[in-house]
Symmetry: C2
Subunit: 230 residues, 2 copies
Amino acid sequence: MIARLECADRLDELQSAIEWLRDHYAIEDMVYHWVSSNGEQYGCGTYDPKWVVRYLEKGYLRIDPVVIGCYQRFHPVDWKRLDWSSKAARAFQKDAADHGIGNQGFSIPIRGPNGQFALFTVSHTCGDEEWDSFTELNRRDLILYAHYFNQTALRLEPGRKPEPTQQLSPREVETMTLLAVGYSRAQVADTLNISEHTLRVYIESARFKLGALNTTHAVARAMSRGQIVV
Amino acid sequence: MIARLECADRLDELQSAIEWLRDHYAIEDMVYHWVSSNGEQYGCGTYDPKWVVRYLEKGYLRIDPVVIGCYQRFHPVDWKRLDWSSKAARAFQKDAADHGIGNQGFSIPIRGPNGQFALFTVSHTCGDEEWDSFTELNRRDLILYAHYFNQTALRLEPGRKPEPTQQLSPREVETMTLLAVGYSRAQVADTLNISEHTLRVYIESARFKLGALNTTHAVARAMSRGQIVV
DNA sequence: CTCTGTCTCACCATTTCTGGGGAGGGGAAA
DNA sequence: TTTCCCCTCCCCAGAAATGGTGAGACAGAG
């Protein structure tokens, strides 16, 4: 959910391609999940703009089982196989249906270098058999499109403009990593065989590079940007 | 570079498929970058085992421009377009050539939910024109194979067993999320309109559920398990 | 060969977090 | 209905983190 605007001149391409796909497959909706935390749309899709606005306003990003489910998944997934048991999820499902979202869906997660995350989704209203045969027949194509579309969209994601992700030094990476696995400052310093004072220098410089307000924030940012891996 | 062993029974499949690909495309090497931080091999490829061992011993993971370049890239990349300018990179390039690695290569990065990272690489020894026409003709297939192979390999990566994930309560999720974006305890309490004392109860119960040693650890775990999204 | 970045060490005072307690109301599930 | 979990509130003292400043050595890049 981090952004870097590298080249914004491709959105038209995406839009026309997505409409071509929609006609070609006779599928109602084919869409990105425009997963920008600040609400800006950076992907493009065929959903009703009203639904997009409502989705963001209601904070459905944190409720939608499609997003939640795909966020921890490797592979493409059919909506039927997600967890719709919670009350919030059911309310969301109903609201989505009321806004004309298909009852069937298939989503493919894609990730970027700095923890960016996007979904390529096709959805439709039909029965299970019809849907299953569609997804099976077109699985390869969908994966390919997801690959192209999402990765382009990820590059287009708005948010932070110039702030080129500052690389952390090796020591800073070690520091952040050990903090992320629960070590206290004293323990980290001990593990790295340096004084706690030195350690603090690393934490502060990492915090500075990451634009973080405190240690927890710094670790969280380093993780979400993929600069440390835990 | 994280691991979760979900099903190890597919390695054979991968191996035979990769050999089929190798024959089919008449390509010398087609390989994973077995990117396991502990040195265990979890992918499979057609490189000489001696080279694999040497690669790991020498710590080439942190030098190899293919790995470094793809790690911050969205799209597949031809080796020619990478940065081979540093001294270490040239030394690596020579060593690789001495071990029979092709002079041409094409690598596709794929990522997993917890920052896992893998590469699908094809390489060969030939001239530029031949290579370019090969990659152009087979781009789609290569991307598809990369998708299937890498994601399977990522799931096979050794390391940690799947931990049963304790669900966090809504309040706990909010707490962890706000902490992850840099709020102090006082600010979080203020934002949620609760007393700081109450907030502490959430932090502690979240910490308990996540098996975390401190707040930073708890936030890191919640993030890496996808229980909060930042 | 300079310059930039990394790595290492030190002190101060203040703020913040942590780890123990205990307690009541509400809702959902069994 | 009981039980379990979630939400809310309170106290205290010790431990840990933070913010600011300063400085020397060493390496690699231009």
